[in-house]
Subunit: 182 residues, 2 copies
DNA sequence: TCCGTAGTTGACCGATCGGTCAAGAGGCCC
DNA sequence: GGGCCTCTTGACCGATCGGTCAACTACGGA
């Protein structure tokens, strides 16, 4: 799966053939179809693996935080860092988001994460830490900032500086904050 | 090109064959290869068309604005509205961003837009409208928010409400604003 | 020792791919 | 009318695709 993921990320899902994968692994084609029903199922399994790992990282990052806003910040940081460390998974997520065969697989995991973030946002609103707004929309906005910036780093258009992470976090946090009461 | 763009957006670039396109158009295959060198070149032409149109819209939206920040806001609004009105182009942009064969084509257009936005951000900083920060990073952050939200609308997970646009704009503007001096 | 099963092989399948090209249609100028 | 050029056709090409399957190997238990 790791090898296949690498090839999918490098050459694209469609242009990468099953023959290419098994050849690179030095095994027969039968092995592939013994473990997976199809090439499509392979990618689904890879995506599920990645989502699980990201989710674990997010949960771990959040524990220990005391305020809702701190949970949000840690969640963003963890997501960005994970995405920077796992360019292969990240690229596959991006691809899967553009292909109707796979969007459904992403949706579930993404919605869990967004719902989670939205809950913390709602908590922060209740606590008066940030003004009232649609928490889900804001969670998605933060996701947009993070993933786009990560995308740029992976494309080599941005240095994998910690300044990127800080800028993303700061942008998101202040975006949430809205106009401060004087 | 419009027909091909539609099919590429609906079924994906790779799964859509040239045969499918010419058949849908009711013409012979030779016609296709008379006007385009390859399937790849066709998509490139479509992408260029879309980028040109978006760029025009952005420029038109900005003219007449008096302050840098107003230019930024109008630019965001125009980009989001255009993307909502052109789901086919938007999807193709998203796909192209995930495929190395086409990223280079997007980069140029994207960089022009980002450089433009960054210039207005720098102007706003000089005018003291927003605090100092890396304008390019911020421009990309705004692009991330916009495109992710548009993506959700196209996937049907969000209503094409004007609230979406307003939230995006507000999130971006306050994200730029940073911590207000008390 | 021998059988059963899990795991593996790679030749093979029909379908389809992007792309080619010889043939010809239609119109324009001389 | 006849040569010419633009445009169109669709049969055809070799390559390759995802997927199948009969044959085979390795090995643990009886």
């Amino acid at each position: 799966m790791a090898f296949a993921a690498q090839r999918f990320a490098d050459n694209g899902y469609h242009p990468t053939s099953v023959a290419e994968i098994v050849e690179g692994l030095g095994v027969g084609k039968g092995v592939f179809y013994w473990y997976f029903d199809s090439k499509e199922e392979l990618l689904r399994a890879i995506l599920a693996d990645g989502q699980l790992d990201l989710r674990r990282r997010q949960r771990a990052a959040i524990t220990g935080a005391t305020t809702p806003l701190e949970r949000i910040e840690r969640g963003i940081r963890a997501s960005i860092e994970w995405s920077l460390e796992h360019p292969v998974f990240f690229r596959l997520f991006q691809f899967a988001a553009t292909d109707d065969r796979f969007t459904e697989n992403l949706r579930k995991g993404e919605q869990v994460a967004v719902r989670d973030a939205a809950r913390h946002l709602a908590d922060a609103m209740d606590a008066g830490e940030i003004p009232e707004a649609d928490p889900k929309l804001q969670a998605h906005a933060m996701l947009g900032v993070s993933s786009h910036l990560v995308h740029l780093v992976h494309r080599g258009l941005l240095d994998a500086d910690e300044a990127v992470v800080d800028t993303a976090v700061s942008f998101c946090l202040h975006g949430l904050q809205g106009p401060r009461p004087a």
